[in-house]
Amino acid sequence: MLHRQRDFAEAMSPDPTMERKTAIDVAGVVKRFGHGPAAVVALKDVSLAIRDNEFFTLLGPSGCGKTTLLRILAGFEAVSEGAVSLYGENIAGLPANRRSVNTVFQHYALFPHMTVAENVAYGPQRLGRPVKEIAETVARMLQLVKMEKFAERRPAQLSGGQQQRVALARALAPHPKVLLLDEPLSALDLKLRQAMRAELKQLQRATGITFVFVTHDQEEALSMSDRIAVMSEGEVQQIGTPTEIYEYPANRFVASFIGDANFIVAQIDGITGGMAKCRSVRGLSFTLAAAPGGKPGDKVTLFLRPEKVRIEAPGDAGLAGMIQTMEYLGQSIFYQVDIGEDSPLIVAGRNRDDGGTPYKTGDRVSLVIGADALRMLVA
């Protein structure tokens, strides 16, 4: 039972037998802005390795340092300490125009005085590629992003989604080893954003280029990434596959930043056979898999996703509670259920098939929580 977490992680990672090269290695990177006591530390000792041909996402709230890290990879910022290498080559001192890394900018940064084709041709031209080859590349790239018909347009004549595609084509045209994407979908509206997710993922598969994607949107990160690094306050909180991050968050920050979560503060009463018996502040008791390193007497935080709780009519099984408020969201209903703890438990319930809501405010209910649904966070 203790290693179910690891089993699960291995089962989810794509083909563990294939050892892949490291595309980007970030080792002990510190970034300070300003000098002396007034300096702002944007990155505090960040280390991570991004694999070749991986869709890797840096996820975190604004100000967490994810964009700074991306700008360091692109060569727009120098590191204060630490090393960055690209396929084994140290690139910390290399200016942006000599790195085989291209960026899709947040607001695209398309050159307004050039046509779409000229924008896409810009990189290969600077690399001194032959004219004929450039023309072919431009045609292929525009075809790849389905923008062939717009080659002679100016960026100002394109919609946001079209500009997005041109920005992608432009950054891919020099065939970089790594493509950096700085919140490229944030300026698009919801529907387009969802459509672009699938396209980006497909584009990454088709080109075989390593993508490093920066976003603050957890849905984007979960839906596209091979692996995600969750960042907060200049530090990496957890690196893992989307499933690992969602199901086995390393700490309370990761658990609350991604998805909805209930937290119950408790103490370990005893552990038998990897299963811990915990008691909450208000005396409720739970049995769940013990986290590695957890000992009896430890204060722990229990964490529970709202959708993993079954809500039933009052009975002997489960936790007794009363519905305080409910929030109707169309496809589901969020109940806040008073279980005698300091804060109510948030539980997601389904609507009835006929569209009615099965419970209403003030109803007494029973909450059934499986042992597998509860997780223990030591931190």
Binding site: A74, N97, A109, P112
Partner: protein
């Protein structure tokens, strides 16, 4: 019941504004109207005629003064625009450095010091050093006071320019020079054009400083007009003045169109 008025609406404002426009433009219109007076007295209308324009065009002194004005304005504009562009690039892309504020104050000095003070200060130096380059003296003076006028729109354009464009160029393997040549300069061009037009207009219209530093033979059109006015008003002055007005209006209109289009170019 009191009459309904929109919030903040003040009655009579529109007619005040039209009256103000009349105040701004009527003198100019009257000046131009009198230039078509065929008689020899400005104030006495003796019928429509273009004879004063003909006379002005045929006046060798006016021709020389106009040519001087054009030479001075062209050379001064070219020099001032190049100098101002370099300075604006340093100010907006050079990062923070010591003496930045002082440099900015220095560049805007000609805007702050009253023209007559600049004029006599330059006169003292030219006379004191015996520097006598003919039209060259006038050009030096004009370059000096045109620099801030060229500088302002160029700096504004650079400040309004999205710096991620330059980063995008570097990201796409553009060297510093390539980035400047293919990205910064083309986008900056309307700003440079605007700066050049402003400094051309300023140079063309300058009178006080030119009057002080211009030696014999370096008379420009405004200085010549001034001497004509002093000698007595004839419709010929109106004719020349109207032409000078027309030149300025055309240039300012061009400037206006160029700067207005920049919104479209960077959108």
């Amino acid at each position: 019941m009191p009459e309904f008025r929109n919030v903040g609406e003040v009655r009579g404002l529109r007619s005040t504004a039209y009256g103000f426009m009349a105040f701004l433009y009527l003198p100019i219109i009257i000046l131009i109207l009198y230039s078509f007076n065929s008689g020899s007295l400005v104030m006495v209308w003796s019928g429509f005629g273009l004879n004063w324009y003909a006379k002005a065009f045929g006046n060798a002194d006016i021709q020389r003064a106009a040519l001087n004005s054009l030479i001075v304005a062209t050379v001064a504009t070219a020099l001032a625009t190049v100098i101002a562009t370099l300075a604006a690039l340093v100010m907006t892309r050079g990062g923070p450095f010591r003496g930045r504020g002082a440099s900015l104050t220095m560049i805007s000095l000609p805007l702050m010091v009253p023209e007559i003070v600049t004029a006599v200060a330059m006169l003292i130096v030219f006379a004191g050093t015996g520097l006598s380059l003919g039209l060259g003296n006038v050009i030096i003076a004009h370059v000096t006071f045109c620099i801030p006028f060229a500088f302002m729109p160029i700096r504004a354009r650079l400040e309004g320019m999205d710096t991620t464009l330059e980063q995008a160029s570097a990201d796409l393997y553009g060297s510093d020079w390539a980035t400047f040549r293919y990205v910064t300069l083309p986008i900056l061009m309307p700003g440079i054009l605007a700066g050049a037009m402003l400094s051309f207009v300023i140079s063309l219209d300058d009178f006080i400083i030119t009057m002080m530093v211009a030696g014999a033979g370096s008379t420009t059109l405004p200085v010549y007009i001034y001497s004509m006015i002093r000698q007595g008003v004839t419709p010929e002055v109106n004719a020349v003045s109207s032409l000078l007005l027309l030149a300025s209006v055309l240039l300012v209109t061009l400037y206006w169109l160029v700067t207005r289009n920049r919104a479209a170019a960077t959108a």
